[in-house]
């Protein structure tokens, strides 16, 4: 089932173009997007970070040394932490290393943020258009169009019930 938060965000902020512009959506939601500084030791091994800074601004950071698709997914994932209120004054910071993006992540916030990211980057309407109208059924091709990894596309299609292997 699609997350209502994603639907609302897409309805209000998505320009119906592919690939989904996460940075643009984040800025429309008032979330600042920044690059993780490689010079800070604490950032070693991190893929992304979602936090509320000292001024109360919502910020997401991503590691720009990773692949483009991974960066996009990280941004969407961190945006999910903000949109789903995982990051709040009581819990102002979420640090995500590569394990949190794995489907085996045991923390429910991470799983929910992964779900959010998948639904944001691969909107249901766009997937349906590709499958039913444009007749594209190749995972690699779909992944390229949505600028996500093949694995992400595989899971998305599986969750939507189009891949029943």
């Amino acid at each position: 089932m699609e997350l209502p938060a994603v639907k609302n965000i897409l309805d209000a902020n998505w320009d119906w173009r592919l690939p989904v512009n996460v940075e643009n959506i984040a800025s429309k939601l008032g979330v600042k997007v920044s690059i993780l500084s490689p010079w800070i030791r604490e950032n070693d091994g991190l893929s992304g970070l979602a936090e509320i800074d000292s001024n109360g601004n919502r910020v997401i950071y991503f590691n720009n040394s990773e692949s483009k698709n991974r960066q996009r997914f990280t941004m969407a994932h961190e945006l999910g932490h903000h949109a789903l209120n995982h990051v709040n004054p009581q819990n102002p910071c979420f640090r995500d290393d590569s394990n949190t993006f794995n489907s085996n992540s045991s923390v429910w916030q991470e799983r929910e943020a992964n779900n959010f990211a998948a639904q944001l980057l691969m909107p249901l309407d766009a997937i349906k258009t590709m499958l039913f109208v444009k007749r594209i059924t190749n995972i690699k091709q779909l992944a390229e169009m949505f600028q996500v990894s093949e694995a992400a596309m595989y899971y998305r299609l599986k969750n939507l019930g189009y891949l029943t292997l």
Binding site: M1, N69, R70, F73, T74, H77, S98, F101, N102, S103, N104, S105, S106, V107, W108, R111, E112, N114, N115, A117, A118, M122, L131, F132, T137, N138, I139, K140, V148, S149, E150, A151, A152, M153, Y154, Y155, R156, L157, K158, N159, G161, Y162, L163, T164, L165
Partner: protein, 177 residues
């Protein structure tokens, strides 16, 4: 429900993904094509089902109304016949007073006829109502999403009033929780 289990039931689309997934594109494409085709056929059947249900419902309604009209006319005819007969066999030497009484009864007799036909109309309306409810259920299911909340504890009922009752029941239930 524990925090860890909150999202159980979903395969989460991790960008790095699991290592055990089968990304054989040819095989996956075949499966996707099949599922897309299956959904299209399902949608086609839903459209056909909807059109057939609406057509039958329309015919049913027209036929029901026609039968109701015939039933009323039949009763009116039968009730009017003895009156005419009585009127025809009236003795010629009947007083003017008696004749005027018969004439006075005629306008009032229409309401009696409607009163007598009431039970038949009720019966026809009941049959119509039952049939239309069944057809509405088919129509409702043709709009029903395939993957919609399977864990919905509410019993599926047809009609907007029942939806309202269900929403009200859900609201009360949420308040009690």
């Amino acid at each position: 429900m524990s925090d860890e289990n909150k999202n159980e039931g979903y395969d989460i689309a991790g960008d790095v993904g699991g290592s055990n997934i089968n990304l054989s594109n040819e095989q996956n494409s075949k499966v996707i094509r099949f599922n897309v085709l299956e959904e299209q056929v399902y949608l086609g059947f839903k459209i056909v089902g909807f059109c057939v249900a609406i057509s039958i419902a329309t015919c049913f309604l027209i036929k029901g109304l026609d039968i109701s009209r015939d039933a009323i006319m039949h009763i009116v005819h039968h009730q009017a016949a003895p009156t005419k007969q009585i009127a025809g066999t009236q003795p010629v030497n009947k007083s003017e007073k008696e004749n005027s009484e018969v004439k006075k009864e005629e306008p009032g007799s229409m309401s009696n006829k409607i009163l007598y036909s009431g039970s038949i109309i009720t019966l026809v309306a009941f049959i119509l109502g039952t049939g239309l409810t069944l057809l509405l259920t088919i129509v409702k299911f043709s709009f029903h999403s395939r993957q919609q909340n399977e864990d919905n504890p509410n019993v599926a009922l047809a009609g907007p009033a029942s939806e309202l009752f269900m929403a009200l029941a859900s609201y009360i239930k949420s308040k009690i929780k």
